[in-house]
Amino acid sequence: MSGIVIIGTGLAGYTLAREFRKLDKETPLTLVTADDGAFYSKPMLSNAFASNKDPEALISQSAEAMAGQLDARILTRRRVAAIDTAARQVRLEDGESLDYGRLVLAVGAEPIRLSYEGDGADAVLSVNSREDYGRFREAIEGVGHVAVIGPGLIGCEFANDLRGSGREVDVIGPDTAPLGRLVPEAAGRAIQKGLEAAGIRFHLETVVKRIDRKDTGFRLSLDNGETVEAGAILSAVGLRPDTRLAREAGLEVDRGIVLDRTLATSAEGVYALGDCAQVAGLVLPYVMPIMHAARALAKTLAGEPTQVSYPAMPVVVKTPAHPVVVAPPAPGAVGEWKIESVGEGVRAVFSQGDEVGGFVLTGAEAVKEKQALSKQVPAVL
């Protein structure tokens, strides 16, 4: 039988390979990646400015070192163009084909890009890889003022980090409060106050309409009539699971690549995990689900079919100016938010009777309750 091919060398691809090698040292393993295959921690991208880390400093292992450790072949800077599930082959952009016995898609997600009027629109950057981070670092070299589009989790983390590096930061978005998609409004307001106290400015309930070049920088014209001047612009308006290869190969896709709890796609012998995945209806683009998925899938690939389970997985938002922990209630969960002030922030608990369904803690005082509350929320899957 031919071996296992993994597309992608992010946390998903590499963690799966490590877990698999703990169980099976024989089956040939090939990883293919469009990037340089260096192993790095993506969450560190949004706290690397304040500590002034360059892109090289974020690498913990080179692709060669990973290949040695994993006893795997790693093809770097090779993009997969198509998958032929009938022939069990992946075709690379340069024309070469690889046969697979089992195939795993760990291709991640792509930043959503919005379009704007004006001659500065093409200068908007997103950061979803180490290479993106390098480009953005160059763009903010010597720049004292950065505009961040998108007041969500990643936008707030970057805003805090850029502010921590001594820059002026303006954050813009249509939400009524930061982290609008994850937390109730009162919690979002507390986060906003905490970040404003650190000197970050918010322009909410409005969107960027135009971006024009002005002197060496840009002028952003907002829908509410305000303007913001900045030397660089970061977009953090969300990620979309990369479903292209899967869709073109005829696999079932929805918001992400559709998977059952064994992480199997609709095609025989093809699996997926990570930011590209939709597991039992859930798209959860965080590290913790990847670790659980990788351990389950490694067992399945080693011959012991295993369903993934997710425990409660509170997300820690890396905003040191106002720390936040979020354990969102399950979609459609019934209950009510109860919100109280604690120190500088809030404690918000979603419950139905005695049953805690989720929580949000904001501010240094409130987050101390993380451990205790995490024990009360139900497992995610």
Binding site: L11, T15, R18, S41, P43, M44, N47, S60, Y286, V287, M288, I290, M291, H292, M313, V316, K318, Q371, A372, K375
Partner: protein, 56 residues
Amino acid sequence: MRKWECVVCGFIYDEAVGMPEDGIAAGTRWEDIPENWECPECGVAKADFEMVLVAA
């Protein structure tokens, strides 16, 4: 007493503080934490991604 940082998510384990809620008493040395322990914030295994020593 030392501090260890998770290379993936930045979680800090402080030996002096331990993690009493999770049954790891204050003062527990890194070496004495079981190998099957996982980072409480991102779930990486102790053995896989090594916590790095950040302060003595």
